[in-house]
């Protein structure tokens, strides 16, 4: 009953990027090394490489996103691809067209690569398997599926950590906040444990931590000060508005008091610890402005590196 992971083809090449789970360490490292070469391109006056010239990249966002879509768009354009943005939630899906019908139609327009964001965990797997079964040579990149994974975010986070901390062995890294609903957290956990980080921690109230985190190689903390003690990297997670009041949390205020990153709590981390956030931030909910704008924050570097990492992924898959 175990079926092959559809992202790696019979020759061991990266055909799609669907999850960090199941991605070999060597392949993650290759993405990071390639991204490092692309980073220089972004600094040039002429910021374009001809790697994907003539290729069509479709951004299929079944769920709204500005930031991720824009960075994929920029990355694809810097590789000279033609980029088409489709905001599906506002078109066919609302007319009752099924997901795979939409995919078939777009594939018939001779797309080369789909960048997919979908509210359902596993949707990019369904799309990739469907295209593979039809024998279509179309690649799929997961740009976030439900609570499952957001692989390029984890890769750019890994890139950022490597940039500031040089290597992964010996690091202590804490992920703080809503792990339960976070695709970023899941991808990060897989990436960091695969890259050899010996101490990955999850910090949050029991209502926002999924069961079985230990089996993913993560230590669980409910007390943020304990969880941040001596860590080298703090990755804050966004708390969605709809989760701020209800059965999971009583209020944003109480959350901030216990799990918001303030200078006082950050002082428990190593003195040279860096602070990361996948954005967009909720200031005063999960992070204090004094930290977000402070010297330890590398949040804007993440955005810059994000373009280079997505160029690397696009190049490795489609070139």
């Amino acid at each position: 009953m175990i079926r092959r992971h559809p992202q790696i083809d019979g020759q061991g090449r990266l055909r799609h990027l669907l999850s960090i789970d199941g991605l070999p360490k060597a392949m993650i490292e290759r993405v990071l090394d390639t991204a490092s070469a692309f980073l220089d391109v972004s600094d040039r006056t002429v910021k374009k490489l001809p790697l994907l010239r003539g290729r069509s990249v479709f951004n299929l966002f079944f769920e709204n996103s500005t930031r991720t879509r824009t960075t994929f768009e920029i990355a694809a354009q810097r590789l000279s691809a033609d980029v088409f943005n489709l905001n599906i939630s506002a078109s066919s899906a609302s007319k009752g067209e099924s997901l795979l019908d939409t995919i078939d139609n777009l594939a018939a327009m001779n797309a080369d690569l789909f960048v997919v964001r979908h509210a359902q965990s596993g949707a990019p797997f369904l799309i990739a398997q469907h295209l593979d079964q039809l024998g279509k040579d179309v690649h799929v990149i997961n740009a976030g599926d439900g609570r499952h994974e957001h692989p390029t975010q984890a890769l750019l986070d890994a890139y950022t950590i490597r940039h500031f901390k040089k290597n992964f062995t010996g690091l202590r890294i804490a992920l703080v906040g809503d792990i339960l609903h976070s695709r970023v957290a899941r991808s990060n956990i897989h990436a960091l444990t695969t890259l050899g980080v010996p101490d990955v921690r999850a910090v949050g109230p029991a209502t926002l931590l999924p069961g079985g985190l230990e089996s993913m190689g993560v230590r669980v903390f409910h007390d943020m000060r304990e969880g941040l003690r001596d860590v080298d990297v703090v990755i804050m997670l966004r708390l969605q508005n709809e989760r701020m009041r209800g059965a999971l949390l009583p209020s944003a205020q109480e959350y901030f008091k216990h799990y918001g990153l303030t200078p006082e709590k950050l002082a428990y981390a190593a003195p040279d610890a860096i602070v990361m956030h996948p954005g967009p931030m909720n200031r005063g909910v999960e992070i204090d402005s004094a930290v977000a704008d402070g010297p330890q924050a590398v949040i804007l570097s993440q955005v810059t590196f994000g373009i280079a990492v997505r160029m690397a992924v696009l190049g490795m898959i489609a070139a």
Binding site: I2, H118, S121, G122, G146, H148, P210, G211, G212, S215
Partner: protein
């Protein structure tokens, strides 16, 4: 028609340990006349029953290498009529039942509209009779439209042919309604079939809440959804003494609760789906919607506990939980895909697979899909049929199967319109060759 089935091994289901010789069936010829079994016996020694002088059968079936067993009784087969004919029809699914050796089946009331009115039940029974296939035993809806607020006219529905009352897998959220429903059912001695799942704890859940759910980012249905519901229902049974049959237990803790309830002497029984004897949440792979079922596949520990429950008799029956789903409803992201797998044609091979893996004697294994489920429906309810029985004088609802014949489960080898299964692509042992209803060989594999 007079039929002699020669040279086969006759398998008499046996719920407790059978004499060693009979555990895997014993060589015997079996003779049918006027729709009933008239004699079973080893040709070389004394047969039971008497063959009339000058017995000349109209037909002789050579069952060398085959097993002759009672027709199977399936406690949960959705036939999708009325209302879901685009998923499956009575014709296709009744045929699938015969291909699977099933001669009696219970169908849950979650049709569209649900079976909450006598007219609907009568129509369904009438349609089934017209097809001359397996005996059909509908469950009536326990509450109107399965909405969990108003109880149905149970006595009327029972007269129309309902053998029990059920909510299918739509749990009653209001415990007071559930209490009243059990009291009312108890008044008439009706049995209530409940799938124990707390609707609040299961809300939004898709897969077993465990490490895999966390990893895949799929909302979980925790084991406590099953145990909390079981504890509530058991408490109500303690007060009302209503007969309750628990459908589709899925967890180790659930099996343990039913075991304790039975020891206490509460009037409860339970079944499990045949798929849950084999498949665990780890088998879902990369979001394979063929594995989306309700209740979800749970951990290996749960699966092993279900097997242990069958071993010690806590679990009374295995059912196919046959739920045909159309392709469009499965070709969706895992969380949007419709739960359900095809089961009628896999029931026997999957029971045989379990028996082989656990070294369960065949006579005992087959009891879980014949006498076990027949006892739950009730002999009086099935009067006039041979459901679950193989004995001289009984109605000849039988099947002949080859326990060693291998076949590959694929979309083309299935007769049911439900073509989704975790076992697609698998080679399974066990094929039904002939199915008899009332002495007529109404399915024969060519």
């Amino acid at each position: 028609m007079k039929i002699s089935i020669l040279n086969g091994r006759v398998l008499i289901p046996c719920e407790r340990s059978a004499p060693k010789d009979d555990q895997h069936g014993s060589r015997a010829d079996l003779h049918i006349a006027d729709g009933r079994v008239i004699a079973i016996g080893d040709p070389s020694s004394s047969p039971s029953g008497v063959l009339p002088d000058g017995w000349v059968p109209d037909r002789v079936i050579d069952a060398r290498g085959m097993l002759v067993a009672p027709g199977l009784v399936d406690l949960a087969a959705r036939l999708r009529e009325p209302g879901f004919e685009y998923r499956a029809t009575l014709e296709s699914e009744m045929q699938a039942a015969l291909v699977g050796g099933v001669t009696a089946l219970v169908c849950p009331p979650d049709t569209d509209p649900p079976l909450d009115e006598p007219g609907l039940v009568e129509m369904l029974k009438h349609r089934a009779r017209g097809l001359a296939g397996a005996h059909l035993y509908p469950l009536g809806a326990l509450t109107v439209a399965l909405q969990g607020t108003v109880i149905t006219e149970m006595a009327e529905l029972a007269e129309a042919g309902c053998v029990g009352f059920s909510q299918a897998n739509v749990a009653i959220a209001d415990s007071q309604v559930l209490l009243r429903a059990l009291q009312y059912a108890k008044t008439f001695g009706f049995q209530v079939w409940l799938q124990p799942q707390d609707p609040c704890l299961a809300r939004g859940g898709i897969v077993h809440a465990g490490p895999l759910a966390s990893r895949m980012g799929l909302p979980g249905i925790p084991v406590i959804a099953e145990t909390v519901a079981l504890l509530t229902i058991l408490e109500l049974v303690r007060v009302t003494q209503a007969r309750v049959h628990f459908c589709r237990l899925s967890s180790a803790a659930g099996v343990a609760l039913v075991r304790a309830a039975k020891l206490e002497g509460l009037p409860v029984t339970c079944d499990v789906s045949v798929h849950h004897l084999h498949v665990t949440d780890q088998d879902i792979g990369w979001f394979d919607a063929n594995h989306r079922v309700d209740p979800p596949f749970r951990s290996q520990r749960d699966r092993d506990a279900i097997r242990a429950g069958l071993e010690d008799g806590t679990v009374d029956a295995i059912c196919s939980d046959h739920t045909p789903v159309d392709d469009d409803a499965k070709a969706l992201p895992y969380g949007e895909a419709e739960p359900g797998t095809t089961g009628l044609e896999l029931l026997l091979p999957l029971v045989l697979k379990w028996a082989t893996e656990t070294r369960t004697p065949l006579a005992r294994a087959i009891a879980t899909i014949t006498t076990g489920p027949a006892a739950i429906v009730g002999v009086d309810q099935m009067a006039g049929t041979g459901a679950g029985m193989l004995a001289v004088g009984a109605v000849a609802d039988l099947m002949i199967f080859d326990p060693d014949a291998l076949w590959t489960v694929d979309r083309n080898s299935l007769v049911s319109q439900g073509r989704h299964s975790p076992f697609l692509g698998y080679e399974l042992a066990g094929r039904v060759m002939t199915t008899f209803v009332a002495g007529q060989p109404i399915f024969e594999r060519v």
